[in-house]
């Protein structure tokens, strides 16, 4: 029995690797995907272009301008003279926001009455918009804090009489010390690149298994295999093991490429990652095998795989946090193997955690894997008989 499995595995490998184009399919696209994904998937907001519309033109408004110009988050890209011009800049998407200082700004600050700054934000991309809005408000409020301190000082000096000289205002001071763990520079690349590794492995093993098996059906070579003394289980093992091997090689390849190209931290154990990858491959190979039993053409297999992969990818927490989803959907994600592997990979890369923290995810993957693979094998078996 082992000999026969070995023979099929050898045949599959030879078939898969014989053609240079096929070799390229197995290892090229994952790398290209890693590069596109790694560079494109980025939610950092830096260096946003803003328009500065100063209708006051006093030293006070000038100071606020410098606060914006000096911030690493903003670059003043235009100084529109009129509201129409500002509107055009926003319509064309040249700037992310318009900061407008109304006439009387400097006067109000001198008189210590409340004045205002108008900030117009392009909300088209809601995520960028919230980040831009919060950065801009922080700049204005830290400027306001400074102005308030000056005003208080001036008031006290006025009150304590003509003695003059600096008067120290004793007031409670609250200081916030923020510390960020695991991803100190808050680079979204460190979060997304490990996630990309998961998606690529899932997609390639799923599609390969489903399409390659259906291909044999489509061109009729499956029947030739069935008249040989090979037993169904041996056939299944022989057909899926090569893809498992390709998947494992891709894990190593893509992880190394991710570390080399993107310099993301890897703090955990590589062996643990490989072990969990093996658990995860059981689920994707199982689903691929299942799809192959329900598809007649490769087109069908592709569509079905896509139909499975799209929601699994979206509901894995890759970019959209599971915490934000409605509760019923959150429960649904517990059936999603991609979710568990995503948590494992991120935990191993960024947090360096081990089995003590990851055992629930590993157990879930194992359960899902055994169930899916078992069901698919049964179904495949029946089809062949």
């Amino acid at each position: 029995m082992w000999r026969r499995i070995r023979e099929i595995v050898r045949k599959e490998f030879r078939q898969a690797l014989r053609e240079p184009r096929m070799r390229a399919v197995l290892f090229g696209p994952p790398l290209i995907q890693l590069i596109i994904f790694g560079f494109a998937v980025n939610l950092d907001v830096q260096d946003s272009k803003i328009a500065w519309m100063d209708r006051d033109r006093t030293p006070a408004s000038r100071e606020l301008y410098e606060a914006f110009e000096g911030s690493p988050n903003f670059r003043v890209a235009a100084m529109p003279a009129s509201a129409v011009e500002a509107r055009e800049l926003m319509d064309q998407g040249t700037v992310q926001a318009v900061v407008e200082v109304l006439p009387g700004f400097g006067r109000d600050i001198r008189r210590a009455t409340t004045t205002s700054v108008q900030i117009l934000v392009d909300g088209t991309n809601s995520n960028t918009a919230s980040v831009v809005a919060s950065y801009a408000s922080r700049i204005v409020s830290s400027y306001a804090n400074r102005v308030l301190a000056e005003q208080q000082q001036a008031r006290l000096v006025g009150r304590t009489g003509a003695a003059g000289g600096p008067v120290n205002l004793d007031a409670p001071r609250l200081v916030v010390k923020s510390r960020v763990w695991f991803n100190e520079d808050l680079l979204s690349r460190n979060y997304f690149v490990p996630g990309v590794v998961v998606n690529i492995i899932a997609l390639i093993t799923l599609m390969l298994t489903a399409m390659a098996i259906v291909r044999e059906k489509e061109i009729g070579t499956m029947e030739q295999l069935m008249v040989t003394p090979i037993r169904p289980l041996e056939l299944i093992a022989g057909k899926t093991l090569p893809f498992a091997a390709v998947g494992m090689i891709d894990v190593v390849l893509i992880t190394s490429a991710a570390l080399l190209i993107f310099g993301v931290p890897f703090r955990g154990s590589f062996l643990l990652l490989l072990g969990c990858a093996a658990l995860f491959l059981m689920t994707t190979l199982g689903v691929g095998l299942f799809i192959s039993t329900i598809s007649r053409t490769q087109q069908q297999a592709m569509m079905s795989s896509f139909f499975f992969f799209m929601p699994a990818f979206m509901l894995s927490g890759f970019a959209f946090p599971i915490r934000n989803m409605p509760e019923p959907v959150q429960y649904l994600t517990r059936l999603n193997p991609v979710r568990y592997f995503m948590e494992i990979v991120r935990g191993v890369f960024l947090k360096g955690v081990g089995t003590e923290a990851l055992w629930p995810q590993m157990a879930a993957l194992f359960l899902i894997g055994v169930t899916v693979l078992g069901l698919s094998v049964l179904r495949f078996h029946k089809r062949l008989d």
Partner: protein, 382 residues
Amino acid sequence: MSGMRRGLERTAAVARKEALHILRDPRSLIMALALPLLMLLLFGYALTLDVDRIPTLILDRDQTTQSRELIERFAGSRYFTILGEVQNYGEIEQRIDRDQCLLAVVVPADYSRNLLMNKEAEVQLIFDGSDSNTASIALGYADALTQSYAMELRQQAFNRRAGGRLDPPIETRLRVWYNSELKSRNYIVPGLIGVILMIIAALLTSLTIAREWEMGTIEQLLSTPLRAHELVLGKMAAYFALGLADMLIAMGVGVLVFGVPLRGSPLLVLATSCVFLVGALFWGIFLSAVARAQLLAYQLGMITSFLPAFLLSGFVFAIENMPVVVQAVTYIFPSRYFITGLKGVFLKGVGLEVLWLEFGLLAVYAAVIFLLATRKLTGKLA
């Protein structure tokens, strides 16, 4: 004259054959039509990048009225959900390792003493930075919250001492244009049309001619008087109808069910989609002619059509944030023009006066790819 008519007849015959192929496979057809619904459902209900209810742990080593007042501020904000109090750093570490909390607020033992003595009182915030986007937004909220609390304390002290009142000097008036509730749904759904069209058009068609190669039926086609451009147009026609149906479903459901604003002209959306769809279909057929094997055609389709539409088009991930080289690369993919155009029409209500360049480029792209696909096939068939 009659030669042209016969050409049209041959094209129609290929189209009919391809349509039959699609209709004979109801499951693929249903999936092709259900895909936009599934994506809309996901993006409409389940997926958002909005950050609120950040799970927060408290480590209060001070246990005074002052420290509790500060913690109350966090509890009262809709951005934070207090999970409970812990006794030491070890517990924080454990909970963060297990992804159970994102933020820990640590109040040191000397907090209230320093505060009452007008010394510097420190509060520590510990963030799990793994998800940098959520973490930086959370950092912004936490910062704003403590800053305004600090300003209040300062003002109270001042008012007590000086007996006077000072109003806050500057208030920020924030207005958001185009998507005033800042719903991620509103900016994702218009782009979704582009992504769906790419899946249907480029991925499905990329398999059709490759399939003929694999099955050997291309030989039969060779022996007929069918010309390359007739084959391309015929193969395309059936998938064009499918793509158009998908586009209408996505637009209709997006606007009617999910209330995504369509401020510009629906006709412009339709016209642009048609031009984009034609270009995408020709691209799929071109790949199909190059690859000859379905698996290879699929992989090429994935990398050159679906991924760029998903990642390099500004669909979810803003192009301005990418490295300059990658930004340059986005210009060669039509989805970039299509998706930025769609967002403009939907959210900003702009028309051809702003979008003429995008529209023109899409048309040029479609024409160029048609010529490429026909030439590739002529070369192969001859």
